[in-house]
Symmetry: C2
Amino acid sequence: MDRASDETDRFLPRFDAAGLVTAIVTDADSGGLLMVAHMNADAIRLTQQTGAAHFWSRSRRSLWRKGETSGNGLTLVEMRVDCDQDALLLRVRPAGPACHTGRRSCFYRRVETDGSLTFPDDDA
Amino acid sequence: MDRASDETDRFLPRFDAAGLVTAIVTDADSGGLLMVAHMNADAIRLTQQTGAAHFWSRSRRSLWRKGETSGNGLTLVEMRVDCDQDALLLRVRPAGPACHTGRRSCFYRRVETDGSLTFPDDDA
């Protein structure tokens, strides 16, 4: 682990070979995990400039603002970075369900030891 | 988005080209984000079988049990999977600081809009 990375007060994101970092999105009020996405340098800049969470879609290979079609945008409250600066935490206020399935969180299924998934009432 | 993936009750993790999924680790009691790591099929299986969180280290190219050197293991309370099954949530009880820096969480720095990082008292 690079000490220069984990104690510096300079934001120097460590992008992967595709130019991306992992972005973890939590509800700023409840703390609950909402979704995981990816950000490139443009997504980070736009999120900081506008206060609306932007991501990079690996499947569509394009920048997108969360909520641009669904209306369920995410307003940034705080951005954090992890020790080795390859993952970001976005603490947000969601305008609606964060998951494309209409659920509050993308993490609505529990992995059981027999390889099945169950759907707890609490969706995160 | 593949509907078969987001509504199925079968655990079919979508590994990337390197055979990995993203693993987000939160404190099962506080809900706070502790760390982000990667898991391959072996790490998932060992975590399920032993109840101790295992990950794949991309830098060392090896499987590791969190806490095997530090003593700060993570006991699994619940595993969840996201809608497209390429990210896992591990809700855990940590035996000590999750971050190699000795902090409770790896997300101890706030990203400011001027490109600086600050160190809030609350480390997650």
